[in-house]
């Protein structure tokens, strides 16, 4: 029986994940020796340091040539490394915003950060995985951690309810995903993405139904993780019920990792099959998600919930980019869902790599904007109001500009960025996605996208209106400051503005990362 030769080199790519796991274990172990009253300031610091370290490593790895690791169960390429970077950013910001959050609730425990780290490790690995079982396992790693995080706060009915919904539906969807995997395995006889292309072609001839249904099921499984309409319905409830820092991590990291895996799977698998199917799948999902997400966010007065819907809407824009990956040949006439001949004669591979860049940049942009926004929310909410559900009411933002100009400015920056208004990173990233979509000729979808984002601007602006144009409500409790939150805000704001004006090196990395699926 010959053992597969796994060398140390195979572990190098996992370094970011390893760092996170080690840090998590340290936290768990150290927690054991702490008295209930001991100061736990170090935990957040450790988490942030770990995140920073893994982020740095990821940046380093970004310049490694693409290579298979673990016999092709994983892949190290700029794409995955960039995703790891995104995840570590999300993790760091979420951890920072957790400091004050937990302290106010007296719920500082090592597990919390440990779970965050585990989840992030799972995400980083998911981005690398290129084999279905690995993908499934990593999805579960990050999911299980986040289930636990969601229900972390034991006080009140909301966390447990959110946890329950998330868990049931999550398990349900991963079962669906798994079933799809099984079908594909049945059609091809392998679960490694890179080996699949060839067998798929034969399978399409012999048993196409397996392939197609399998693909649909897998797509559904991912659609749940990225909260695409109509698989989005858990999102508002879970986002609302989960502790805000966790929500931040979910909206940023989970989404990013899921998208990474989704793209990796379908681009590789898609090589085998007729691209029409994935195009239609993702175009439809994108359309529904953009429109519904924005429309449903409009009536929300609960900012946290509004942000949940907005994260759905953003998934829609990302899906637009994904759909752009599967345009084979532009059609003659203008269609809503498929491509029209407006494309600029760019070679499709170039266009696709542009689309990938767009997606990646968008993920980074969204991570900064969303985690920043959630950090803001967590800084403003008070536990007493949670049961009443008023903890996140727009009123909490009224007059913020007079009470804490800095915070108001930061929040305004996040809102504008989420709304895609220049000169913020939100605009740049939207621009890149739209650019890619138009390049391949998805003009109809893009028009829908811009119109719905105009509708989106309405509810983002409403927050700004409350912060800047409403008077301070009487009897407003003082807002205590907290180094973690403020650090998170500063980092996020600087990034949002800076990346909006000077994309700088990031775009060069993207130029690398985006070329992964060149053809």
């Amino acid at each position: 029986m010959n053992l597969p030769n796994i060398t140390l080199a195979d572990f190098l790519p996992m370094l970011p994940a390893i760092i996170m796991v080690v840090a998590a274990s340290v936290l768990l172990l150290s927690e054991v020796f702490l008295s209930a009253t001991a100061s736990r300031g170090y935990q957040a610091v450790l988490t942030v340091v770990a995140a920073a370290a893994s982020g740095a490593v990821a940046v380093g790895l970004m310049f490694e040539p693409p290579q298979e690791v673990f016999l092709g169960f994983g892949v190290l390429d700029p794409f995955s490394s960039f995703l790891t970077l995104v995840v570590s950013v999300g993790l760091a910001l979420a951890a920072l915003s957790a400091v004050g959050f937990l302290r106010r609730r007296g719920a500082e425990r090592g597990e919390f950060y440990a779970l965050m780290l585990f989840a992030s490790a799972g995400m980083s690995l998911l981005a690398m995985s290129s084999e279905f079982i690995t993908i499934f396992v990593n999805i579960e790693v990050l999911s299980i951690a986040t289930y636990a995080l969601t229900a972390y706060l034991r006080r009140g009915t909301r966390p447990s309810e959110a946890g329950f919904k998330y868990f049931i539906l999550g398990a349900f969807s991963s079962a669906v995903l798994l079933y799809g995997t099984a079908l594909l395995y049945g059609a091809t006889g392998t679960t490694k993405l890179n080996d699949m292309a060839g067998p798929l072609q034969q399978a399409l001839a012999t048993s196409p139904a397996l392939v197609y249904v399998g693909a649909v099921l897998i797509a559904a499984g991912f659609a749940f993780k990225v909260a695409a309409v109509p698989f989005h319905m858990w999102t508002p409830d879970v986002y609302e019920g989960a502790p805000t820092p966790v929500t931040a991590l979910m909206s940023a990291g989970v989404k990013a990792a899921a998208f990474a895996s989704l793209v990796r799977v379908f681009v590789t698998v898609g090589k085998g099959m007729d691209p029409k199917l994935p195009l239609m799948l993702f175009a439809t999902l994108a359309l529904l998600t953009m429109v519904a997400g924005n429309l449903m966010a409009i009536p929300q007065r609960n900012v946290k919930r509004m942000l949940a819907y907005s994260s759905i809407a953003h998934a829609g824009y990302l899906l637009l980019g994904v759909a752009a990956l599967f345009v084979a040949a532009p059609g003659e006439h203008f269609r809503l869902l498929s491509a029209s001949s407006l494309s600029g004669g760019t070679p499709l591979d170039v266009a696709r790599s542009d689309a990938l860049r767009g997606i990646l940049y968008y993920l980074l942009a969204y991570t900064f904007s969303a985690t920043g926004a959630f950090a803001m929310v967590s800084a403003l909410e008070r536990r007493e109001d949670e049961e009443k559900g008023t903890a996140w009411d727009l009123e909490r933002f009224a007059g913020l500009a007079q009470r804490r100009p800095g915070w108001a400015f930061a929040m305004a920056a996040f809102m504008l960025s989420l709304g895609g208004i220049p000169p913020t990173v939100g605009f740049m990233s939207k621009l890149l996605i739209f650019q890619a979509a138009i390049d391949v000729g998805l003009v109809g979808l893009t028009v829908v996208a811009v119109l719905s984002s105009a509708a989106g601007a309405y509810y983002y602006l409403r927050v700004v209106v409350y912060m800047f144009m409403h008077p301070i409500p009487e009897g407003a409790q003082p807002l205590e400051r907290n180094w973690g939150t403020e650090a998170a805000l500063v980092i996020a704001t600087v990034a949002v503005v800076l990346l909006g004006i000077l994309p700088g090196h990031v775009t060069d990395w993207l130029a690398q990362a985006g070329t992964l699926f060149g053809q």
Binding site: V75, G198, G344, G345, D439, A454, L461, V465, T507
Partner: protein, 563 residues
């Protein structure tokens, strides 16, 4: 010196931002200092702006004081500044209004003074940037960013109904410009394959030029002659109208043209005096400027096809706006609707596509900035004293505020285009251009009706506000303008006279851009005398590096897919 050769425009644009940083460092309680610093900043900016205006050589290249560096290259963008005659004139107008706006707000703005001045300075930067940017996306970025400070200005320091007005203003403008964004990106892609295309105005225009000419040729040809087109021309034939529509909508909302004008009255009425002044003075011009610079030259054929329609809208705007004024009770609303009417003249002059019309339109942009800006300024003074906008609450003001009345009446005459004031030159040229143009005579005739209605409503308002006997006790002891207010008003009155009696220096700078605009717009007009390509093409500096245009990213070797 050599520094200013390259960076003069940068200085003009970012000086307000620098001062914004200074203001940011001041404690919010230091109102006096905040105001002083802002004022100094604006003044300094005015100095540099004037310098730029005089550096501009009417006989020189089309775009001058250019500055271009690579920026966000993989996506075909570069940081490219430059001004032509029109841009530099509007730039002058903007920096001219700057300090006056600060002065006008010294007593009007009483709360959150620091934030206000920050907004003011940032707004200045964005407007100047939009005027000077030569990269379409850069323009778009400034064009959008402009909304934010103005939105805050209306929404925070506005009147009772300010939030509604602010949001309405923002969304209204946003919808249009987002569609334009799609069109911009689309035109960027069709303008050429990877490597040759770029968002730079020059590249974009030159890439489209040949196709536009083909298209124009076949459009004037027999029925279905355009079916045989191929390549870029065919794409333009199919999608050009849509792209033009997107551009036109965005700018028409900004102008605003009838029927997408309804954000303007609300915004104007609710905005503080500074907001109204800037909105009327500069921001509306962004719309006409956009038509002049982007919408019409890039899609001459579609523009030519849409010309009658747009011209009708413009004329409707002129007459309709004037009629609206007759139905107003609210003074600010009246002035706002008068803007609709005046901007109608600008649009008509543009669409006439004659030297006179375009020049008149450009000049009318400046005039409107000055006369309407001054009207809002003066009414602001009145509003500070009485806090009401209804004509019926005034009456007989002339008795207690003679100097104010004199100033207001002078500006009124400028606004109704009495010869000898700046307004006359613009309106006369626009109307003559319209008559000379290929538009039917009726357009000119109807537009000229505005001359009558303009006098009717402005004098009606003056009558109601200033003349007659004092009907309200509150008005009996209004104090006349103080020194500060006079100093703020004086520049406007001086300019009214100067621009009315000696317009030539201003026209000289506008003239070269006018000729080029007319040449480029008439590319789409079959039968019109076509200028030679070397006059049509946009000559701009190229990037120092060769990477001016979007590099196609070479796909790296994909992971071996082992079969």
């Amino acid at each position: 010196m050599s520094f200013f050769d390259n960076h003069l425009l940068n200085v003009v644009i970012y000086l307000p931002l620098v001062f914004a940083a200074l203001v940011l460092m001041l404690p919010a309680s230091e109102h006096g200092q905040v105001r002083a610093i802002t004022f100094v900043g604006m003044l300094l900016d005015l100095v540099f702006g004037v310098w730029a205006y005089f550096r501009f050589e009417p006989s020189g290249a089309e775009f001058q004081m250019e500055y271009r560096v690579p920026w966000f290259q993989q996506f075909g963008m570069s940081y490219h500044l430059g001004v032509d005659g029109l841009a530099v004139s509007l730039l002058l107008l903007t920096v001219f209004l700057g300090p006056l706006v600060v002065l006008a707000s010294t007593t009007y703005i009483q709360h959150r003074i620091k934030e206000f001045h920050l907004a003011l300075l940032v707004l200045q930067t964005t407007m100047l940037g939009a005027l000077a940017s030569m990269d379409v996306l850069l323009f778009y970025i400034f064009f959008e960013a402009m909304l934010i400070p103005m939105y805050l200005m209306v929404g925070v320091w506005g009147a009772e109904d300010r939030r509604m007005a602010a949001v309405k203003f923002f969304l209204y403008t946003l919808v249009g410009s987002l569609l334009m964004l799609v069109a911009i990106v689309a035109v960027y892609f069709i303008s050429g394959g990877p490597g040759v295309r770029s968002f730079d105005y020059g590249t974009l225009y030159n890439n489209l030029l040949a196709a536009n000419q083909q298209l124009a040729a076949c459009a004037s040809g027999p029925e279905g002659a355009c079916a045989s087109l191929d390549g870029l021309a065919a794409t333009l034939h199919t999608y050009g109208p849509w792209m033009f529509a997107a551009f036109a909508l965005a700018f028409a909302i900004k102008v605003p043209m009838w029927p997408v004008h309804t954000w303007l009255p609300d915004a104007h009425v609710q905005a503080p005096v500074a907001g109204s002044m800037i909105l009327a003075g500069v921001m509306l011009k962004m719309g006409t400027y956009g038509f002049w610079r982007f919408a019409i030259p890039l899609f001459p054929v579609a523009a030519h096809a849409a010309r009658p329609f747009l011209a009708v809208l413009a004329v409707i705007g002129i007459v309709y706006g004037a009629l609206m004024c007759l139905a107003q009770r609210d003074i600010k609303k009246l002035i706002a609707y008068s803007s609709v009417s005046h901007l109608g003249y600008c649009m008509l002059g543009l669409l006439a596509v004659t030297g006179e019309g375009a020049t008149g339109s450009a000049y009318q942009m400046l005039n409107h900035g000055i006369s309407t800006g001054a009207l809002f300024l003066l009414f602001g003074f009145l509003y500070e004293r009485r806090h009401t906008r209804l004509m019926s609450d005034y009456g007989g003001i002339a008795k207690v505020m003679p100097v104010f009345t004199a100033a207001f009446v002078i500006i009124t005459f400028s606004s109704v285009a009495v010869p000898g004031t700046n307004g006359f030159i613009g309106e006369f040229l626009v109307l003559m251009g319209t008559f000379k143009s290929t538009l039917p005579l009726g357009f000119g005739a109807f537009a000229t009706l505005g001359v009558i209605l303009g006098a009717a409503y402005m004098l009606w308002m003056v009558q109601k506000v200033f003349f007659g006997s004092i009907t309200h006790r509150e008005n009996q002891h209004l104090r006349d303008m103080n020194l500060r207010e006079m100093l703020t008003t004086a520049p406007f009155i001086v300019l009214v006279a100067v621009m009315g009696l000696m317009p030539q220096p201003f026209l000289d700078r506008i003239a070269p851009s006018t000729d080029r605009y007319v040449a480029r717009a008439s590319v789409g007009a079959p039968g019109a005398t076509q200028a030679k390509d070397d006059q049509l093409r946009v000559e701009v500096m190229s990037l120092p590096s060769t990477a001016a245009a979007a590099r196609p990213s070479v796909p790296a070797a994909p992971l071996a897919a082992r079969e």
